[in-house]
Symmetry: C2
Subunit: 488 residues, 2 copies
């Protein structure tokens, strides 16, 4: 009874080629994380359902994958409640209506079945049969970890975490039900030095990946200030949510949306200077200071931004840009807001995001823990690097040399050479079976192996090896003890 | 409404220190895998439930974590079946018994409630509300992958896979509900060269980890031969299962178990030479050849073992040992069987296992795919390295230098030096806040940072830096441009 194998929709297998590329991205990011003093953390895939629910809004709650209780999951189904409801209905129906006729009994049966079904739907609750769920992001488990281990942690706590998350989203192009998140956070300090370092970290990562990027920065306090000076500070969420869409829908639609949300024409007029802002941070700063002069909050935001711009200094390949319309997850961020976009390729969306939050751990009872974090979108970075042809030709981890197999005597000899090659740190293998050379070459080709070492009867006798460069097709015979030098 | 945070029983958080140690183990193994031509593969955490069920025996099926269908999971509950059963019962009961009395109605209601409950338990099936499950091991997903992608794969396929698996086992000391497996397999070749390479690979990994190990090897064909010459070949499973326990329960109990399972006294006598075997492979081999002379299967097994022993040659730190009682997962392995035990520390169980299987992919319809694979027990290796104090003093990835924070002017200056230090590849950080030195030193200590660089007002003026070695407590003042050299 062979099954035709498949995987759940929205999930992916990663083939060796894809894995080597993904590992290249993750290890590049990870090395920079570590160079900046971030240390790794891993939390379990499963969290208690109550740890996750209520943290991502109503829509988010629906998208959490729940794990059926192991053992007798039915034990959690609340039969008592169902029974009670049915009993009451039976008694009321039977006592009032039931006559001793077959027709009445059938009618009664049908009504009862409807009652059972309704009671089932009413009383069988997810939380009765599922107490665990798959993590939905890395942020809530991180907050849970910090609170749970607050007495063991050396604050400020700099951690990175690279693990998959799961969301029961409708699968579609570029949206998966399982995907990796790649986060770094500093928690337990309000110092802007962290913001400065995170901008430099973006620069280091994308310099290492060879990708030109723009790091956009804003400050939530500037956004609050804009709402203040517009005269409708209470509308800050609606104003900012609309402004955030400027990129996609243009000024007219942004103003229309504000109007729909009850922002007055006067307030909309008050926001107008935002759309006129142009140029570098040093050009925009005096204009903003003047425009937002009456907002203490905004002034603090501008001061913080200035600190960051000044302290970051020159960058290697990234460009730091102020974007007063950037708002990402407004409910969440309280200070700096970051977004990174590729300056090459056609990826429209951001490839990284982040910002400062003042109350991440409050949901678990630990107040006043300010933090700032960033997140790398691995799948999007993968797509950009592939599109712009930026993956290195030789990815770390791929095999460099294949010894062809010409039979037992030759293979035994190759095993010895193979060992020397590996000792020299070169990834190499011996084709395990004696099959046609064409098949062995095809294997090397399919696996992207750079060189094939051929030791047939002749080579064995003469102590030589014929090395074939799989890219150029060139072959040359060399002494066996020159092999390592030749392919290094 | 703060919740006291916790994680599901049997799961673990891995703190930064634990993570650095785990990463050291995994990256050591991974580098060797790659040096041997194995390439990485990842499969999704969720598989279709039908991919997993029936692959691990009845007990295994129970231990698979199922994922509740997303969206309306109740839609899968088969109310129709429940309704039908209830309807039939109502009709039979009502028509036969029900009189127009209140007492009868109550009695009927109660019976009906029992019926509802029974029907619920009978008809509400796991498969109706859960179509996906968490992977239970890496082997079945690997087999699924090979069959699904057979036309894209270059065989023999050498892949490694390092991912967590989940089992709804009763949590207890050393047994977790989420743990990493770390597997390497060659599939699509019968060549014994793979066995040879896997033994060398064990040697390379444990040499790199600095741990003395014994690699035990046996061959399923030798075990079959023993059952053959005992005169009860049909009892091979019972005989081998008993023999496998020799280590733990001793010869007497092994023979007792065989007797209970219906192995005749004569057969048990026939097996006796096994318990007398001693010495090295070259000492045991002639004895085995004589004893098992009548079994063609056993002779092939001995020949294969000889090939492996000869071709492996000398090893760097592992010892290869023949163990005729080794049987690990008998139903599964068809040729070589491997097990690795630590020769240091007190870990009683094996830290690696593996063997050759002839029909891994048959369950998914792809026949005749012979393969051989090994698996590293990361948690046990972790425990052994910790117990025997084999983790390197300086684990890759940890921070080496902390710049103390003496206020804004000093911090701004440190940011520039910090950048140079990082450019030199040294993991370093600047304490983000200006707090008491004691607190900053404690932070460095807690995080295992080797050096603290102190630049106060004085140092700033003089262009020097005081470097404190956190291990010895020594401090010395040096020129700032000597800092990198000093701590490298």
């Amino acid at each position: 009874m062979a099954q035709k194998p498949s995987i759940p929709k929205g999930t992916r297998d990663f083939s060796p080629v894809e894995m080597l590329r993904r590992k290249y991205i993750f290890s590049t990011i990870e090395k920079v994380f570590q160079k900046y003093g971030f240390l790794p953390l891993e939390t379990p895939a499963m969290e208690n359902l109550e740890t996750l629910t209520g943290k991502y809004g109503e829509e988010g709650d629906r998208l959490i994958f729940k794990i059926l209780n192991s053992g007798d999951w039915k034990a959690g189904l609340n039969d008592e409640d169902v029974s009670e409801e049915i009993r009451e209905q039976i008694e009321s129906i039977v006592l009032e209506d039931l006559k001793d006729s077959k027709e009445k009994v059938v009618e009664f049966s049908e009504e009862l079945v409807r009652t059972v079904r309704a009671a089932t739907n009413k009383y069988y609750r997810t939380r009765d049969i599922a107490e665990k769920a798959l993590r939905y992001d890395l942020t809530v488990p991180f907050a849970r970890y910090v609170v749970q281990h607050q007495n063991e942690i050396a604050f400020p706590f700099k951690r990175y975490q690279i693990q998959p998350v799961w969301r029961a989203d409708r699968p579609q192009k570029g949206r998966y039900r399982e995907f990796y998140q790649c986060d770094a956070d500093v928690i337990g300090s309000r110092s802007l030095i962290s913001e400065v370092e995170l901008v430099q970290l973006f620069d280091d990562v994308f310099t290492a990946l060879g990708l030109q990027v723009v790091v956009k920065i804003n400050d939530r306090k500037v956004l609050s200030g804009i709402a203040e000076v517009s005269g409708q500070p209470e509308k800050v969420v609606d104003i900012v949510t609309a402004i955030d869409k400027l990129d996609k829908i243009g000024r007219e639609k942004v103003e229309e949306e504000m109007r729909t949300k009850g922002v007055s024409d006067e307030a909309i007029k008050g926001i107008a200077p935002l759309f006129e802002l142009k140029g570098t941070w040093s050009e925009q700063r005096p204009l903003l200071e003047k425009w937002l002069a009456s907002s203490v909050t905004a002034q603090q935001g501008l001061k913080d931004l200035s600190f960051t711009f000044d302290a970051v200094g020159s960058m290697k390949s990234a460009i730091l840009e102020f974007d007063p319309t950037l708002a990402r997850g407004l409910d969440y961020y309280t200070g700096a807001i970051f977004e990174v976009k590729a300056a090459e390729g056609t990826m429209p969306g951001s490839i990284c995001g982040g910002g400062r939050y003042d109350d991440l751990t409050g949901i678990f009872g630990l107040k006043n823990m300010s933090g700032v974090g960033i997140s790398f979108g691995a799948d999007r970075i993968y797509d950009v690097l592939l599109e712009t042809n930026k993956f290195p030709a030789e990815l770390g981890g791929s095999t460099k040399l294949l010894f062809a197999n010409f039979g037992e005597a030759e293979a035994m000899h190759c095993l010895k050479l193979l060992r020397q090659v590996r000792e020299a740190g070169i990834a190499a293998e011996l084709y395990p079976d004696q099959v046609k050379m064409a098949k062995q070459f095809k294997y090397a080709d399919d696996k992207g192996i750079a060189y094939v070492a051929i030791i047939g009867e002749n080579e064995l006798k003469q102590g030589i090896v014929t090395v074939k460069d799989m890219k150029t097709g060139e072959q040359k015979a060399i002494k066996q003890d020159e092999l390592i030098h030749e392919i290094q």
